[in-house]
Every structure is written in C-alpha cells, then in structure tokens.
Amino acid sequence: MAIEVRVPTILREYTGGAKIVSAEGATLQSAFDNLEANYPGIGGRLLDDSGLRRFVNVYLNDEDVRFLDGLNTVIADQDTITILPAVAGG
C-alpha cells in the first residue's frame, strides 16, 4: 500500500531534495514511522511528544488531518499526504 507524500522545501534536506516521496502504512502514524525509517530525522521535525508539531499542517487529499482523526487517520492506497508549514494569509 503506497501513498504519495509531498514534502515542503524546508524538510527536503531529509529526502535528498525529493519533493515527492512514497510511504507505506494504514494510518498517518504508521506512514510517518515509515518515513522516519527511510529518511531518518524527518519524524522529529513533524512530531513531538504531544503529536503533530504546532506549525506543521498535514493534509490527506487536501483535508486537514486535525479535523479527521489526527495521527490515527486511516489512509488508503493512492492517497496523497501534503505536509506544509503554517504560514500567514490575509
């Protein structure tokens, strides 16, 4: 089960510059575990002890996972995860 993960510029130092990587897992948590296994260090930039870091936004097929089931959100084959830093609009 492969999903596509879009990595923001600021985290590409961990992915060898790759903008899109693939990950495996049945939930967001397991996909992040899989990312960390393949790209050591990236996990700590995404998560802290309380879960998703404050300024990290994660979208499953464009929907903010904080309004789904957070790290327990179930993911399916062909899903896309987009990681973005929180920035100002307006």
Partner: protein, 315 residues
C-alpha cells in the same frame, strides 16, 4: 437602500442562489457577494470595526498613523476608512501581490512598505512588528489578533446569513486572518449550532512557504480550531478552475480566493449528495476579479494561468 454615509453602507450584502452550480434542488449553493462592499471586498467589515473599536478605546486621535501588515484587501479597506476619519495609513505588503493592489492603496492615500516575497505574509507581519516597536506612536490594529475583526462578522455577516437563509446547513469561507470564520463560526455556535463551519485555505507556490525553519510558522492569534468542522487546502489549479466556472456558469466575476472557497463548497455539496442529505451551503465571495486581471489568471488555459500566478499571493 439609503445610508447616511459610505461607511454606514458596509455590509448588508446580497446572498444569491447558484441554481446551475447547485447539484440538486435539495443540495443548494448560495454566494454571499462581499465584493458589493465599498472598496469591493469582505475586508471592509473588519477594517471599519477595528477602527471604530480603537476609537472607542481612545487609541486613535485625528492625524494618527496606522500601520498594518496586509497582502492587500485589508489595507485597501483600512485606507478608505482611515481617509474618511482623518488618519494616515502605512501598509506593509509582500512584494508578490498584484499591481492593482498597490495602485488602489496609493489612490486611497496609503503609504506602502514592501516586504520580501519569500515568506509571504509571514514576512509582512515580521516587518510590521519591527516597525511598530521602532515607532511607538504608530497604531497597529493587527488584523490577525484583533478581536474586533472576528466580532465584525459575529455582529453582521453571521446575522445577515441566518436572516437570509434560515435553513443554512454549512458555511464556507477562506482562512487568512481567520476573522470571517471565527466570527461567523461563533455566531452560529451561539444561534444555530448544527451549522458546519468549513475553512478553505489557499495553497500557494513554494516560495511562500520558504521559511528558514519550522519554528517560524505562523498561526493567527484569532484562530480557534474548535469553531471549525473541517479545513481544506486548495491549490491554484482548483482555485482558478472554479473561479472561471463561477463566471461561466453563474455569471459571477470573482477573485481567485473565491474559486478556492467554491472548490471546498462543491466538495461539501458532493458529500451531501453521496450521503443523500439535503444541504444549504453558503459561501463567501471575498472580492471581484478586477484586482487580479494583471496576473493573467483569466486568460489562456488553466495551466498557463497557474504558471503565471506561481509565486504570487493570489488570495
């Protein structure tokens, strides 16, 4: 409709049905035409409320200088209100915004200080905070953290929606300062709590997310996630596609951020159809398309338009 002055006419905008974009007679879309405000955007509501609130608190005296970080619309609204009430305005604006915004701001008498494109509005906020610290006599109303911004929507946008559409089930708006969503969200929580509050957040090109590190991220002080039901990130291609669709199918000429909001609203409508539920979905038309003509968003293929707005703050 008669008003005592231009400022008194802020708000009271039409809510129009979209019979052709609505998927069925039971799942209907409604557009709140905020471009019908005096300077042509939803920001007139917040700008007027923030200035009136500051006056009431005794923070403003005639001749005062206001300072505000803004990607455009808030600045234009503040400039109009400031001119009417005798204040000067300095806007800190990212350099990657449309030419029309600069022209309009200048016309209404504002001074513009540009902030670097990389980092988008984050940079504008940072630069403005620095200037505010150096110039203690300037008043920064600070739309991202000013309670009067959200309160304007609690007091006007929310009640207008409920009066015009008592059967409303969903409200969809853009997430920038979060003022519209927080104010309307709080109004419905207090008055019709089953209404779903849906945020559409523009996803810009990479340049805008070019932070040096993740700790420099920004969440507006006004933001309260508990008021939202869901939040969608909408990229430029979907936003442009829907902006054109709105014009083509319903005749409404809107700015690009409205396309992003419509995209989220159509997603909500699709889910209601799939669930076999009825829905009355109201969404915000933030502004007209006029200010974005120079971006090339309305010409050529969608892909060409996407390329042209890459790196710009289009919402």
């Amino acid at each position: 409709m008669r008003f005592d002055s231009l400022l008194a006419s802020v708000g009271h905008t039409p809510l129009v049905g979209l019979p052709r974009l609505s998927p069925s007679p039971d799942v209907r879309l409604w557009a709140k035409l905020e471009d019908r405000n005096p300077t042509g955007s939803v920001k007139d509501r917040a700008a007027l409320a923030m200035i009136l609130q500051a006056e009431a608190e005794g923070r403003l005296a005639p001749g005062c200088t206001l300072l505000e970080p803004t990607s455009g619309n808030t600045g234009i609204s503040l400039a109009m209100v400031a001119k009417q009430r005798g204040y000067k305005l300095i806007c800190v604006m990212p350099e990657n915004t449309s030419a029309e915004r600069t022209q309009l701001l200048t016309m209404w008498g504002a001074t513009i200080i540009t902030s670097p494109a990389a980092g988008g509005s984050n940079e504008a906020v940072r630069v403005a905070k620095g200037l505010a610290a150096q110039n203690p006599d300037w008043v920064m109303l600070y739309q991202y953290g000013n309670a009067a911004n959200a309160q304007a929507h609690y007091d006007s946008t929310g009640p207008e929606l409920l009066a015009d559409l008592p059967e409303i089930t969903h409200f969809v708006a853009g997430l920038g300062t979060t003022g519209t969503l927080m104010g309307v969200g709080r109004y419905f929580r207090d008055n019709k709590p089953d209404v779903q509050i849906v945020a559409a957040e523009p996803r810009y090109g990479e340049l805008v997310y070019g932070l040096r590190n993740l700790d420099e991220g920004f969440i507006p002080e006004l933001y309260d996630a508990s008021l939202l039901s869901s939040r969608f990130s909408v990229g430029p291609l979907d936003a442009l596609k829907r902006t054109r669709e709105l014009l083509e199918v319903e005749g409404i000429f809107a700015g690009i951020s409205t396309g992003a909001i419509l995209h989220a609203a159509l997603g909500v409508a699709r889910k209601a159809m799939q669930a076999g539920e009825s829905a009355d979905i109201a969404f915000i038309v933030c502004d007209g398309g006029w200010k974005y003509l120079s971006t090339g968003a309305y010409e050529g293929t969608l892909e060409e338009a996407e390329e042209r707005i890459e790196g710009q703050l289009w919402a």
